[in-house]
């Protein structure tokens, strides 16, 4: 591999160089290199255990790594750029007995509402509502967040992630637990938010058809980045075989008119 110098590049949202992570002597990431330009939707695909979630957690500073380098917006210390990042975790397991309402949950994200306990509902709504219009969670504000359906929860989490107008949105299998029609609208929502706010979106997904129709760039991961490029190029038989092993079949894009 040619040694490529990754200099500070202002138009890169994420730079990862030779990232290595292992758990109990099993290496999960074995030298991952990744450069994500700003203002695109990119997808990370790969089989179970290929390190997609681990890679995302490294970007967020949730996972320590033994070797390598991660820069977000050119900054090595993730803590400094956290306010610019929105994150939607994989299957947020909330304690069912925790009675936090959607309104209260969203208020936790904004500086203006950090003393939410002492604000009236009206005051809170005035501050959080502008961010909710396009997401369609306004009618959920009074509901306890732990009792939402999968699709509703994903919308609330997206609203939460977008409240502080991030420049980078990280989504970890955002549609796990959402049925297929719900899934479609979810990705449409992400795409329209991305277009409007010109943000960078990195999403981990198993759903190849969604990746095909919404991502501008795809990274196939299996311990290392096996291949990268536009979806039609990456998602052919050869590269999928490389990422998923011998059982993969090429993805055929069906046009339904």
């Amino acid at each position: 591999m040619p040694t490529e110098s990754i200099a500070m590049h202002p138009s890169l949202a994420v730079e990862v160089r030779d990232l290595r992570v292992s758990f109990d002597n099993t290496s999960v990431l074995r030298g991952v290199n990744l450069r994500v330009p700003q203002g695109q939707i990119v997808a990370l695909i790969g089989p179970n255990g290929s390190g997609k979630t681990t890679l995302l957690r490294c970007l967020l500073g949730l996972q320590k790594f033994s070797e390598g380098e991660v820069k977000i917006f050119g900054e090595r210390d993730v803590k400094k750029v956290l306010p610019r990042i929105g994150y939607v975790p994989q299957r947020l397991a909330l304690e069912r007995s925790f009675i936090l309402s959607v309104r209260e949950f969203l208020a936790l994200r904004l500086r203006e509402t950090r003393h939410w306990f002492f604000h009236s509902h009206k005051q809170l709504d005035a501050l959080i509502r502008p961010a909710l219009v396009q997401i369609g969670v306004e009618d959920l504000l009074d509901r306890p967040i732990a009792q939402l359906s999968g699709g509703q929860l994903q919308r609330v989490l997206i609203a939460f992630a977008l409240l502080r107008k991030p420049d980078l949105l990280l989504l970890d299998e955002p549609t796990a637990g959402v049925d297929t029609p719900g899934e479609e609208t979810f990705y449409d929502l992400i795409a329209s938010v991305q277009r409007q706010h010109k943000l960078t979106v990195i999403l981990v997904s198993h759903d190849l058809s969604m990746v095909y129709s919404h991502a501008s760039r795809v990274y196939a991961l299996n311990g290392v980045i096996c291949c990268e490029g536009p979806p039609e190029q990456v998602m052919n038989a050869e590269s999928l075989k490389q990422a998923y092993g011998i059982h993969a079949t090429p993805y055929h894009h069906h046009h339904v008119h």
């Binding site: 967020l60 949730l62 975790p89 925790f98 009675i99 309402s101 936790l108 967040i145």
Partner: protein
């Protein structure tokens, strides 16, 4: 009864500790830490025994020290071994009770007083305990309100909290430190066996009657006061032990809110 100094002290302690335990309890119950609280209160038995061993008149500090040791022991084992958290807690609970009982068996003359640590005794609440309760009430209450957003995020989801800039590990240790102090001090009022009731029951009662977290916190504070102060007054009137009366008053509140909640829904 309000003219008797021991009752004044007991009522003041109940007034400070009841709502404080309930406030902490909202997050303790939501984080599934009720058994954790039980473990650190039982660990205090070894502290009591050590206090007697060293001939201290007031074993509060050894109680706090042993409870803290066990609390941080649980956290360390949880982070550094593959053992399940409730296994670790059951292990440390029984171990610390065993150590406490062995030490106490070697000090036969303190048997009578032991009862008051197991089930609480308002006669043992001195001016120092009241001051400590007031200080803890002011300090922890303020801290909780100031850090409410961080504690709530932490309770909802630790990773999300960290991504939102909450120093998760530091907050977890701070939470355990504060919980241990509150539990160790409340033992004087309710006893080692019953102290967890004041942390668990008012939030549980409030939970049944609330639709959001703010309501649950407000109702927990109210139920905490009603349970602890009401229970103390009742125990004087009926001439029965204070700790169990506080627990039963809180249980009655819990059943009432549960029934009312069910009726309102149907």
């Amino acid at each position: 009864m309000f003219t008797e100094p021991f009752m004044q002290r007991a009522l003041l302690a109940a007034l400070f500790l009841g709502p404080l335990c309930a406030f902490m309890g909202v997050f303790v119950t939501a984080r599934r830490m009720a058994f954790f609280s039980d473990t650190i209160s039982h660990a205090a038995l070894t502290g009591v025994a050590l206090g007697f061993w060293f001939g201290l008149a007031d074993p509060t500090w050894p109680m706090v020290a042993v409870s803290l040791l066990v609390a941080f022991g649980i956290m360390w084992l949880r982070e550094n071994t593959d053992l399940l958290t409730d296994t670790i807690m059951a292990l440390l609970l029984s171990a610390s009770v065993a150590v406490g009982v062995i030490i106490l068996s070697l000090l036969k003359e303190f048997r009578g007083e032991l009862h008051s640590y197991l089930f609480g005794d308002i006669l043992y609440i001195g001016p120092q305990e009241v001051w400590l309760a007031a200080a803890l009430f002011g300090f922890v209450g303020t801290l909780l309100f100031l850090q409410l957003t961080s504690v709530t995020l932490l309770t909802a989801h630790e990773d999300m909290a960290q991504v939102c800039g909450v120093p998760v590990q530091r907050m977890n240790y701070l939470f355990v430190l504060v919980l241990t102090l509150v539990v160790a001090l409340t033992i004087r009022l309710l006893g080692i066996i019953l102290v967890t009731a004041l942390i668990v029951i008012p939030p549980a009662a409030a939970r049944a009657a609330s639709r959001n977290l703010r309501q649950q916190i407000v109702l927990s504070l109210i139920f905490g006061v009603v349970g602890s102060v009401g229970g103390t007054l009742l125990s004087y009137q009926l001439d029965v032990p204070c700790g169990p009366t506080i627990v039963l008053t809180s249980v009655v509140l819990f059943i009432a809110t549960l029934v009312i909640g069910r009726l309102r829904r149907t």
